[in-house]
Symmetry: C3
């Protein structure tokens, strides 16, 4: 699969997917810039009278509940239903799952629409799986990552989704396998919204790549390798934020493949 990932990156660059984002205020600028940097075309639109039309002209949909409210909740539902009716792929970023009852009510509704991909950190994936009340605990699930893998496996089974858990190691789980990606840099946790950026990049890749697990793995490894390389020239999180955009734009085949740490 390693050899496929770079091909997927090239495919996004050449096919320039149109990605419709209903996302949060904090990350809109960075997300749009990250999508442009990898060769995709971002649309940010949330108006209820137009989200169905935007989904119709896009390759994929990104739903991120970071700064949601009642209006945005409705927009997200309309858009996700439209994506399903058109069989277009979409990705859910359950920002802050478990933080408030409101988030969980909204997420429960969105989750019932069976996202193509779900990407969150371990605690969000765990909170999301609990909305189903059916998490099957593995034998050795004491550690957070094991608990998250159990939660992800539950979500894969119940919603037919590919599930990505972001962390020191990124994990991509589908029905058949579990991929571990060991790239990135600790400084990335000090830049706001890189998780949201990861989700948006996943949105671009699933828009044009058939194998959704490979698409997600390509997106996540592209971001974490870019972050790893960018961190070397960054004196803090401010410069890292822009150096990542530069590296997403100019990363080479050799840089990507020589740094990729992928295991199954």
């Amino acid at each position: 699969m390693e050899n496929h990932l770079w091909q997927h990156i090239l495919q996004v660059r050449t096919s320039s997917p149109l990605v419709h984002n209903i996302t949060n205020y904090v990350v809109m600028n960075n997300t749009a810039n990250a999508l442009l940097a990898i060769g995709a075309s971002p649309i940010m639109a949330h108006a209820k009278p137009e989200v169905e039309d935007m989904v119709s002209i896009s390759h994929s949909l990104v739903i991120n509940i970071g700064t949601l409210d009642e209006y945005w909740h409705e927009s997200m539902m309309i858009a996700a239903k439209k994506a399903n009716s058109l069989q277009k792929p979409w990705v859910l970023d359950p920002v802050g799952a478990g933080a408030t009852p409101y988030r969980d009510v909204v997420l429960s509704e969105i989750l019932s629409l069976n996202p193509t991909v779900i990407r969150g950190n371990a605690s969000e994936i765990i909170a999301l799986a609990k909305l189903n009340n059916t998490v099957t605990k593995g034998v050795d699930s004491t550690a957070m990552s094991n608990e998250a893998i159990d939660a992800a496996t539950t979500l894969v089974k119940n919603h037919n989704s590919v599930v990505c858990i972001s962390g020191e190691t990124d994990i991509v789980i589908d029905k058949h396998q579990c991929l571990f990606l060991d790239n990135g840099d600790p400084l990335m946790t000090k830049v706001t919204g890189l998780g949201c950026t990861a989700t948006a990049l996943v949105g671009a890749f699933i828009g044009v790549i058939e194998n959704k697990s490979e698409a997600a793995a390509a997106a996540l490894s592209l971001l974490s390798i870019s972050g790893e390389l960018a961190a070397k020239n960054s004196s803090g999180p401010g410069s890292l934020q822009l150096n990542i955009i530069d590296k997403l734009y100019n990363i080479t085949d050799k840089e990507f493949n020589s740094h990729l740490k992928l295991t199954k």
Copy 2:
């Protein structure tokens, strides 16, 4: 006219116009920074109970429909009507014109208020002119730019607006003439919202300069020359985004005039 443009830039720096922006979430931060960098004072405000008051204290108004919804649509109408009643100049950025029926309905209403200036890319200007159903095709309008010029000419005639078409060559059209600006750098297309920034800068210039075509030409050339110079020191779109802000702030008479490529 070339000699006038730098004078206009100096005038904005010294008179520091207050620019009221009702714009999209993606670009608010960059737009505000770009306005500060050229010496203007940005206000971002969209609340219906206050937009008329904000228009009243401002030199000009910027309306950008990028992430509009029903509430923002109403705010834009209230603000534009107030600007007209006070004879204050305002500029429309028809982001995504033609992308959805909703956008076109909203744009049709805003357009009926006859913006002082309209700035968009070729496809947006073409879509906007079609809302009138009266585009007069020129003899040789097969190419996109010719079609856009025809569309712009229609908008100039019907709405008494100055129309700016952004692209590899920026074009400013009014009743009397057509100006061509050949500055910029291809990397600028990889930074989100530079078109929106162009519109905001036009907003600042029309706030204090009587000749609206010259004001628009000064704003567009200031941004594209700054981008052209900034691109030389940028390793990607992330660094370009901030280098443009720096250059807007510290560009000199000599830098501006030696790079300006203006033809009529």
Copy 3:
């Protein structure tokens, strides 16, 4: 007190307070990054069904009315009341106070809830105090800064708040004393939202430091010294914006203490 300030900075780094922000669209990204850079954890959330829950899990609340509208006004009131009922500290940034009657109506309501800290520029603090109709003019209040100090003193008395006036000299006023902070760089006025960032940092510090005046002084001096140092390596406001984030992240004891200009 000088010796306390760096200890407060370290305390924020180690205790990583959760800071709930109901703030404006323009600065959300920068504010979140600044909070992360100093070691705090930002939450941005404004939905009426969840703001009480967010306040409950946070150490402190930041209310910034920059791009308010009716919905956000209600959210702010709900959140501030909840903070009061839980005796959690909160800070008000009265952006644009006095600019429109609407802002003053909203601010009057928020002010009645007695913010723990208020931070604004001189004209905002003066406008805010006038909402009370009870500003006691000092003998020599002809200058703006004296007028602002009178206004701040009124607010301290009427609302039991600590009041911060940002400007060339930052001033922190409580019942007992008046602190003057003389750090910063003029280029900081060309970066949008640094005042809002100051408020957010105050939010982080009051979340974990008992003495609210010292907390505010530590936050303001941390930002202005970081800006002062960052400006030395910045060729304009674009690079300053990110260099400040870097410096907030990596400023040392020695850098801070050798530059601090604090007088009583």
